[in-house]
Amino acid sequence: MQWLDTGWFGIVITLVMVTFILSNIYRADKGKKELFIRRIPGLNAIDDAIGRATEMGRPVIMVPGIGSLNAVSVQALNVFAHVTKTAAQFSTPIKLCVADAAVYTVAQEVIRDVYQKQGMIERYDVDSVRFVSDRQFAFAAGVSGTILREKAAATFLLGEFFAESLIFAETANSVGAIQVAGSTQTSQTPFFIAACDYVLIGDEFYAASAYLSRVPVLVGSLVGQDWCKLLIATGILLGFATNSLERSQETSVGRVPLAVAAPEKWTAMTEETKSVFEAAEDEIPLDKPRLRKRNETSVFRLFNPLVREADLRVERPQKPPAPPAATGGAQ
């Protein structure tokens, strides 16, 4: 990141949010008081769904989306670990279909660990976690086939889903499965809402592990996130107020590109230098006052600082030219 590009403000705000989250984790870890989390119906339905699968003698199918190994898929696997724990207690068969090799490796470890911790390693089926394909629609076809063939009683679709979301949801619906779904991709949430029984919307997905386990660290982190939301909401209100005020006032100084502020300097530059100073801006007095433009408010400037020509003038020592034989790459 370059501070001149994006300003210090973004970094400071992010660091404040990091502090909020970490301090609340610390607070929760030390404190004894159990914190309140509002009811999330989709997560309450997990036990019902597994119970139904047990009664019907059909498997539970879990899909952590098609994303790579990142925070989203790790969170999905956290929830699946909880599902597997309950399923293991009832000897309900599970299938976890994965589209990414790295997620597959971690998923295998996690599921085996769950059975081991429950003391039921003999119930663990090595093939219950399977890599299907890393091609989006080959994966969609493979998982749909599994849902249809195995006649899944419950499906858990949690993670990064794209166009395949509705294919899974409708296929599972056609075999009468109870479905709990949630995606961090907001564009896919409407499809899940149309086709699934329970949907985790937005950050409910990230709240899942705290909700299910009530581990203080996770709950504390959730409280920290709420503090951050309050900070953002305050920021929006302040931004709205200051922007409205400033844009209704007149200014006699305009923020313009260097080419407008100092045309004589600009035309004297070589083409190569122009490319360096293109980002430069300056302020010039206006002939007559006018209302402020969008890029002349203080909030805009917080995120897009004024970079003057002098800021971009950098003279650095140069590497000695390498002998031609040693450069290799350029011919």
């Binding site: 370059q2 501070w3 992010t14 949010m17 990091v18 989250i21 925070a71 790790v74 696997l77 956290n78 670990a81 909880h82 090799a101 790295a102 597959y104 490796t105 996690v110 660990d113 399977r130 890599f131 091609r135 989006q136 629609f137 080959a138 086939g145 063939r149 166009a163 395949e164 509705l166 294919i167 409708e170 961090t184 907001t186 949430t189 499809f191 149309a194 919307i201 937005g202 950050d203 990230y206 592990s209 660290v217 996770l218 982190s221 959730l222 996130q225 951050c228 939301k229 953002i232 190569e272 971009l312 950098v314 650095r316 020592p317 140069q318 590497k319 450069t327 290799g328 790459g329 350029a330």
Partner: protein, 314 residues
């Protein structure tokens, strides 16, 4: 100063493509990595966890530093760092290598995925389970596709007269077979799977899109406005009606040709849809994105600092 049009000089980390040095470095790196992996298998469980966390922390730390430490502006290809800029230069130089290393690791993990596929499907065939014929088809397709893909790549990259292969008339049976499988089958099957979504949207809409409460009525109304606004013919008809009404009512500035500002303009279908998008949909999406972003931030922090005490690290 090296002119801009010239590629940066090759360092220890990059070698001349196709040179003997490249192959030596690849083999040495492979052997070293295999030895490290072999050594790691002897570690006890707790030790493995420490290694995993150590790697996670180091990887995370790199990106955090990259984000916080100011990287040099206007850096020329042969610039040396000024005092205080050394670390920024180093971080910037290291980034492509970190990205490449991550890509290579991911490629190796694919091997584990293929192993899973082979185990599941060979097992099904060996145990004579139902639907084993599909497993056989899958395995045959996998081997044939990989075989022809590799042969095609070798011919195009290193083969005699490889430039000629750019033109279809010079293709050999290998190129025809690979084209048939890739463009003719795989791509088309991908497209077929994607187009199935249209059918599923219809059945989901028919089955589930019901007016059961005030919320669902609002949802339905806004969905209808947005769907109708996509129909160019209907929008033209509707807006034409609004313009005609403005003229009939003799509103100031009303003119069908120039569509100048008059109050009824607000009721044009594309304007109503724009309003719904800008003032209902976008704020809601933004709020959701804030929540998701914060969730990812918190989760990332917990993983990075080893605070995650859920399914994975428990």
């Amino acid at each position: 100063m090296i002119p801009l049009a010239q590629a940066p000089p090759i360092t220890f980390w990059g070698v001349q493509p196709g040179s003997g040095e490249m192959w030596v470095k690849i083999v040495v790196a492979l052997v070293v990595c295999l030895l490290i992996m072999f050594g790691l298998t002897f570690l006890p469980n707790a030790g493995r966890k420490a290694v995993v966390w150590g790697f996670t922390f180091a990887g995370g730390l790199f990106y955090v530093l990259l984000w916080i430490v100011p990287t040099p502006i206007n850096r020329g290809p042969s610039d040396l760092p000024r005092p205080g800029e050394e670390f920024g230069f180093w971080l910037q130089d290291a980034l492509p290598h970190i990205v490449n290393s991550a890509n290579i690791l991911t490629a190796f993990l694919l091997g584990l995925g293929i192993y899973s596929l082979l185990r599941v499907h060979l097992g099904r065939i060996a145990k004579r389970q139902p639907d084993r014929e599909f497993s056989a088809i899958l395995l045959v397709c996998m081997v044939v596709m990989a075989g022809f893909g590799y042969a095609d790549w070798i011919m195009r990259r290193f083969g005699e007269g490889r430039e000629k292969l750019e033109l279809m008339q010079n293709w050999t049976p290998v190129q025809y077979a690979f084209d048939l499988m890739f463009d003719g089958l795989l791509q088309q099957m991908d497209a077929a799977m994607f187009s199935m979504i249209a059918f599923f949207i219809l059945s989901a809409a028919y089955r589930a899109f019901r007016i059961r409460s005030v919320e669902s009525t609002v949802l339905m109304a806004s969905a209808l406005i947005l769907m109708l606004s996509l129909l160019g013919a209907l929008v033209a008809l509707w807006n034409g009606g609004v313009d005609a009404m403005a003229v009939a009512l003799n509103l100031p500035n009303a003119s069908v040709d120039l569509k100048e500002a008059h109050f009824l303009n607000n009721f044009k279908l594309n304007e109503v849809a724009n309003w719904v998008r800008s003032f209902l949909q976008v704020p809601a999406l933004r709020a959701l994105e804030f929540g998701v972003g914060l969730g990812a931030l918190a989760m990332g922090l917990r993983l990075w600092l080893g605070l995650e005490k859920g399914g994975i690290s428990a």
